[in-house]
Amino acid sequence: MKDFFLIKYAPEILEHTLEHLFLVGVAISIAILIGIPLGIWITRQTHFRQPVLAIANIFQTIPSLALFGLLIPVPIIGGIGTVPAIVALTVYSLLPIIRNTYTGITGVDPAIREAGWGMGMTDRQLLFQVEIPLAMTVILAGVRVATVIAIGIATIAAAIGAGGLGVFVFRGISVVNNQLILAGAVPSAIIALVADLAIGWMEQKIKVKS
């Protein structure tokens, strides 16, 4: 029993789990702070919709290991360690958040929006009192997708010395030890599942019946 990997590496797993959560937590928070306003902005400035979504899309298609590598020579936001890892994870999380914010807000029943205008609501009042609350489940669904992806990709951050559960995975690969790989992969999968369920539960909570 003592040799079971989750127990054997328990103190280290805890340490790397916290690193992992820190990387993902900070990256998702930044992505929300950038992505939601950007998603709202392109519902108002529709000619920026295409370019913004296209750029976010391109970020998404860069292989994650390549993105971490590409950031190494970049000053300030690049290099190795925590900062470039957070930058890369943020970049990956943007697309689902921007896209879902945009889709959620443009998906609000036009009759409801028109009723709001017709009654003399300003654009700002309509946005904050009606559109955002009604789009919230869709926006959260975007955050949920982004979070699950980021938890997975964060394991690769170990390649540039940012720590996290990927440390086990890379170490396991280099010494050909499956237990070590699992010590990183299993907790990472569990975190992803828990995050998925938790945000899914929040979505249900705030769902507006109609």
Binding site: G116, G118, M121, L134, K209
Partner: protein, 252 residues
């Protein structure tokens, strides 16, 4: 309407085009204070467009619409719309607001005092025949179609606007509820003395509610007059609508 009745809204040579295609053209008519003007027409005849020109959801491509003798383009659009109640088919209620907050929407935007808002909401729910104690805390999805429409009317009346615009508000209701609401609304309109512009494609509804009927066809107003005048109108489109009332042939 006698010529001395004040005019609430006036269309002066109004055309509204989208993508070079006129949706309504050359509209010229007054809407008098306190009358119920029914805009009748088929789908796509331009009646909803005409209505949206009044609260400036649309701006005339040519000509002008006067509200209180001032062109809508010179009004602050927010101020203009808060003086015009607006009711649309049942989807217009905010699904995440209670009945109380839906009805109190404009008073809240106008920053009335909370106590005053509550009083007004309760008063209005009583006026439209909903018991405030029972309904104030409910959400739109907990109401029947007829109840939702009553809430819609209450919401439009909240800040006591002199003019009400109604876009097929009773269209989605079952015939019995619809007749009930039509009759109540007619009584209400006469009691409150509101100017009402009401869009419908239902000739029966037009006859129940109208002080005057405006018949629209292909983006033009082809007839405007009282119900009696409408019944005698020889225009083929008027005749086509009257054909929809088979029993009238026997009863008149």
């Amino acid at each position: 309407m006698s010529p001395s009745t004040p005019i609430a809204v006036e269309f002066r040579s109004v055309t509204f085009s989208r993508n070079q295609r006129p949706l309504v053209s050359n509209l010229n008519f007054p809407i008098y204070q306190g009358e119920a003007l029914i805009l009748l027409g088929r789908s796509g005849s331009g009646k909803t467009t005409t209505m949206k020109l009044i609260n400036r959801l649309f701006i005339p491509t040519a000509g002008e619409v006067l509200f209180n003798e001032i062109p809508t383009t010179e009004w602050d659009e927010i101020k203009l719309r808060r003086r015009i109640g607006y009711v649309i088919q049942e989807t217009g209620l905010f699904p995440h607001f209670t009945v109380e907050r839906n009805v109190g929407l404009v008073p809240i935007l106008e920053r009335w005092k909370p106590k005053q808002i509550k009083g007004r909401v309760y008063e209005l729910l009583n006026i439209v025949g909903l018991d405030p104690k029972k309904f104030a805390g409910r959400y739109p999805h907990e109401l029947s179609g007829g109840q939702r429409q009553r809430v819609g009317v209450a919401r439009a009346l909240a800040a006591d606007p002199p003019v009400l615009l109604m876009d097929e508000p009773f269209g989605a209701l079952d015939p019995i509820t619809r007749l009930e609401l039509q009759q109540e609304f007619r009584r209400l309109q006469q009691e409150l003395g509101k100017t009402v512009v009401f869009v419908t494609h239902d000739i029966q509804e037009a006859l129940v509610l109208a002080s005057r009927i405006g018949l629209m066809y292909g983006g033009e107003l082809i007839f405007l007059g009282t119900t009696q005048e409408f019944m005698r109108s020889p225009h083929p489109e008027s005749q086509a609508f009257l054909e929809c009332l088979p029993y009238l042939k026997y009863s008149l």
